[in-house]
Symmetry: C2
Subunit: 211 residues, 2 copies
DNA sequence: TGTACATCAGTGAACGCGCGTTCACTGATGTAC
DNA sequence: TGTACATCAGTGAACGCGCGTTCACTGATGTAC
């Protein structure tokens, strides 16, 4: 056992494991973690209960794996989206604005709306999880703050800030608007609400740095 | 049985009922609805399980009562806050800005941070509830949109809008920022994050209507 | 190329506990006459 | 003012089902010699 070796088993089992995680993510976002039973997951995947426990030592291990995969995917999405936007634009402000536009369009293209943010779901049931999972949640969120804060710093080096605001707060606001937008989209049943909120944030950002 | 008669029993039972709801609200916001057991609620209140079922015909009735009480309280809070702000200011823009400042300060004064929004919690486990509860959630959210939209209309009658934005979206954005701010506050463990986000929204609003 | 062994990816049956719910009953308080 | 009855606010015991977890076992694939 190589220390730090955390990757899933290499062969066919990895596909089954991912199917379990797929079923779990959908279920957890719709019914909460405690409301999601192992029975329903194995029924969806088509294995037995012992098969589940081959992949995860207990339900807590599922919770952790689920969050890890979600964070990695979200990181990859942001990497991809904003690096593509940067290629099109060497000005940091325009690059960010283009990235936000692309994000909004990407969200608008989801036919049934955004399925939900696991970070948010976990925050609203965090007493169900151990320190490790909660720490993962915090670390990921702070990582995203830093990611956007760095962009804002690069913008602020070229453009004057037109209001007395903290750039960490402005960085946080993108996640705030995304998470809040997901909730309101679900609450009123309008899938277009979330992408439009992202565009409002984009408009505010333009105002903050331009005349 | 008077039709439409939905009020809690009038005497001592009402206090017990409220204690159950208090315990339930705290637990549901920390562990989700499925993760909250009737056993833990009755232990917190100090009654037997049959006592619980005297007040609620089943767990679903608890979910509904919980949400109804939450919505009524939130409505009352908004009524109180913004009518006080209006009294201090006859200009609709300044009245709204003062109300937002008061809201931010009220949130900043919560020693352990905002306990969480039941609407958001329910959205993230809505398959646990029946149509009725989901409809309640939608109706309340649309009511708040209309409430703030009306204010924005009154402001827009006096001040020019400085960007091409939909006022329903701007109204939604307050709830979006509040719900998202609650989540990020929880995720990073900074109670001051939420009130600061409200002030960012306030800043954006000022920008939208003023030079 | 064949054989021995190890690992992978599960199966099948059983477990006990906690969960939501039901039912018959009860003491205290309120109301009608 | 006293009595009969109704309602309020519960108690106590039992229920069955579903839940997460364990354990001994297994066939298929991979690796060493």
């Amino acid at each position: 056992m190589v220390s730090g070796m955390n990757a899933p088993a290499s062969r066919k089992g990895a596909a089954t494991r991912d199917q379990i995680l797929d079923a779990a993510e959908t279920a957890v976002l719709a019914k909460g973690f405690a409301g999601t039973s192992i029975d329903e997951l194995i029924a969806a995947v088509g294995i037995t209960k012992s098969g589940f426990f081959y992949h995860f030592k207990d339900k807590g291990a599922l919770a952790k794996a689920l969050l890890e995969r979600y964070i990695a995917r979200e990181d990859a999405l942001f990497d991809d989206l904003f690096s593509r936007a940067d290629e099109l634009n060497e000005d940091p402000l325009h690059g960010f604005l283009v990235g936000l536009k692309m994000l909004s369009e990407l969200l608008a293209d989801l036919p049934t709306g955004h399925p939900g943010c696991l970070i948010a779901a976990y925050c609203y049931q965090d007493r169900l999880f151990d320190r490790e999972v909660r720490a993962l949640n915090t670390r990921a969120t702070l990582g995203w703050r830093r990611r956007f804060r760095d962009r804002l710093d690069r913008i602020a080096a070229r453009y004057p800030l037109r209001a007395d605001v903290d750039l960490d707060d402005v960085a946080d606001m993108l996640l705030v608007v995304a998470d809040g937008g997901i909730i309101l989209s679900k609450a009123v049943g309008e899938t277009s609400l979330l992408p439009r909120q992202i565009l409002l944030y984009r408009d505010y950002l333009r105002h903050l740095f331009q005349a």
